[in-house]
């Protein structure tokens, strides 16, 4: 296994009844990079995301994480191996404080209560949420909840962090904060896969972009290349606007 293949997704196919949500999607992620997965609504991004994190079992294909086949591993084991995720619809534990939410994550690799708390406080400081750590998980803004979700995922000490639309619905200021946070996460040596619709963030953060349409990968490349790609434009805007016509 070469050092380059941190995560290898090989020919993932997932069907729901007669609907093929993703078909033969392959790509690799290098350690330390930020890879974005984009595509129109219903393209199969979240399905792919769920196949990698063990929430769905693909009908065909393989997922290799650091050379280890994790295709059939259960979701909690995949998290233990070092892949953490957030959810498209923000999920925090409502009868816990912000701090306790993060502690739930840090308990994965630490048992001692005091250390768990220390680590969680440190992560909250990192995510800029430490001033709100005693707030109930339900009493913070959506933007804070999204950051809290990232903090909860960081609590599990992942080497690969997967964010499902972490930027959706943020105000421009909040978006800047989120982008800065993701940069900081990467600087700490965490590899990231982001599924995203907010192109501003995709353009700014990604080293590479994978474009999915109708369940298939259509292009892969640097952010600059993919926005000029006729197939991508066609996928987003339809035939009439694509470069050839």
């Amino acid at each position: 296994m070469s050092a380059a293949s941190f995560l290898e997704v090989q020919g993932i196919t997932k069907r729901f009844g007669g609907l093929t949500a993703t078909e033969e999607v392959s790509f690799t992620v290098k350690e330390g990079e930020i890879l974005s997965i984009i595509g129109p609504n219903g393209a199969g991004k979240s399905t792919l995301f769920n196949c990698i994190t063990g929430f769905y079992r693909p009908d065909a294909g393989k997922v290799l994480f650091r050379g280890k086949d994790i295709t059939t591993a259960s979701a909690h084991k995949i998290c233990k191996l070092g892949i953490a995720r957030t959810f498209q619809i923000v999920q925090v534990i409502s009868d816990m404080t912000v701090l306790e939410n993060v502690m739930t994550g840090t308990y994965l690799r630490t048992y001692d209560r005091r250390k768990v708390r220390e680590k969680a406080v440190e992560i909250l400081r990192f995510a800029g949420l430490h001033e709100k750590m005693d707030f109930p998980g339900t009493d913070i803004t959506i933007a804070d909840k999204k950051r809290l979700e990232v903090a909860m995922a960081l609590g599990t000490e992942p080497t690969l962090l997967m964010l499902d639309e972490a930027m959706a619905g943020l105000t421009p200021v909040e978006l800047r904060e989120m982008i800065a946070l993701i940069r900081k996460v990467r600087e700490n040596g965490v590899t990231l896969i982001i599924v995203e619709h907010v192109m501003e963030a995709v353009m700014e953060l990604s080293d590479r972009v994978v474009v999915i349409n109708s369940g298939r990968k259509i292009v892969e490349g640097s952010p600059k290349d993919i926005v000029r790609n006729p197939e991508v434009i066609q996928a987003y805007l339809g035939d009439r606007y694509s470069a050839g016509n």
């Binding site: 909690h76 999920q91 925090v92 739930t104 209560r113 995922a153």
Partner: protein
């Protein structure tokens, strides 16, 4: 979970001392009996709370564990002359294993579906025991009378020793619940309560933690069952395996405050005297009146204070500051 304040510790200490001296101050079998029932149901409420309060597994099958505990120690004592204390542990272990056996196939059931499955489980156990010759079926079992001693877990001249035993059981349950709620398992159960998806995503095996919760809860509830058998000295399916006991346990926890350590104890302290006193005052004519009062109480609580009496008290406490 914050560390207890000095005031809280002081309150607990005063309460504990009050409970310790209660039998020395208040004489008479009836008040002692009522207190014993309060502690018994408080203990079961605490055990239920680990499931229902923390992990949102609304078990209406607690009575099955209660019955298994009562029957195991009684059968062991009657047929094999096994000391009730060993029977207590055996009953707890058996109930925990039964809990695991039922918990595995139910590991994906949530909310109402888990509740329905737990009722079905308890009813199967009840019907089975009602027809099982080995445990004397519907006739029930009278415990052999042993000389009174702590070792024999049997006392004839006074209820007071039972009072202290069940108080210790209750304290043990509260401490276990407190330990769970302030450590990893408590965090994990609350994450599971929020959503299985979220729990999985945070590396939590919800199947495993749900099983732990069921097993601990079953063990404690079976202990309560053995206590009941040793206290009443007669058990039959109609007294230790009927659904109203499960319902009572759930009510105790919900009324006091589900998901809090002390809630079920408060719930038991309110409901049990109510049921015992109405039963004695009104005799057979009063049958059901306690249930009517419960019903009204539960409706009021769930409509206005879903977090229970304890939730109400803490809100008032916070306002007072």
């Amino acid at each position: 979970m914050r560390n207890p304040t000095v005031r809280q510790i002081a309150f607990c200490a005063v309460l504990l001392v009050a409970l310790l001296v209660f039998p020395l101050v208040v004489h008479g079998t009836f008040p002692t009996h009522v207190m014993i029932m309060v502690f018994l149901f408080a203990m079961m409420g605490v055990a239920w709370n680990i499931l229902g309060g923390y992990a949102a597994m609304f078990s209406f099958g607690q009575v099955a564990f209660f019955g298994i505990g009562a029957y195991t120690s009684t059968i062991l004592l009657m047929n094999y002359n096994v000391n009730p204390w060993i029977g207590l542990v055996a009953g707890g272990v058996l109930a925990a294993l039964m809990g695991a056996a039922i918990g595995i196939p139910c590991s994906n059931l949530r909310g109402h579906y888990f509740a329905i499955a737990s009722i079905a489980f308890a009813e199967i156990v009840r019907i089975h025991f009602n027809n099982w010759k080995f445990v004397a079926a519907a006739e029930g079992l009278s415990l052999p009378l042993l000389p009174e001693s702590l070792r024999n877990f049997m006392f004839h001249s006074s209820k007071v020793p039972y009072y202290y035993i069940i108080l210790v059981f209750l304290l043990l349950s509260v401490l276990i619940c407190r330990y769970i709620s302030t450590n990893r398992m408590g965090f994990y159960l609350r994450a599971i309560k929020e959503s299985h998806e979220l729990a999985k995503g945070m590396g939590i095996s919800f199947v495993r933690y749900r099983l732990y919760a069921i097993m601990i809860s079953a063990f404690l509830t079976a202990m309560a069952g053995t206590f009941y058998a040793q206290y009443i000295l007669y058990i039959d399916p109609d007294s230790v395996l009927i659904l109203p006991i499960s319902v009572q346990v759930v009510l105790v926890a919900m009324l006091g405050g589900a998901g809090t350590i002390i809630g079920p104890v408060i719930g038991a302290a309110i409901l049990l005297p109510l049921s015992e006193i109405t039963r004695v005052w009104l005799g057979y004519k009063g049958t059901g009146i306690d249930m009517m009062i419960y019903g009204a109480l539960i409706m009021v609580i769930s409509a206005y204070r879903p977090e229970g009496v304890w939730g109400l008290l803490t809100t008032i406490g916070r306002r007072g500051k």
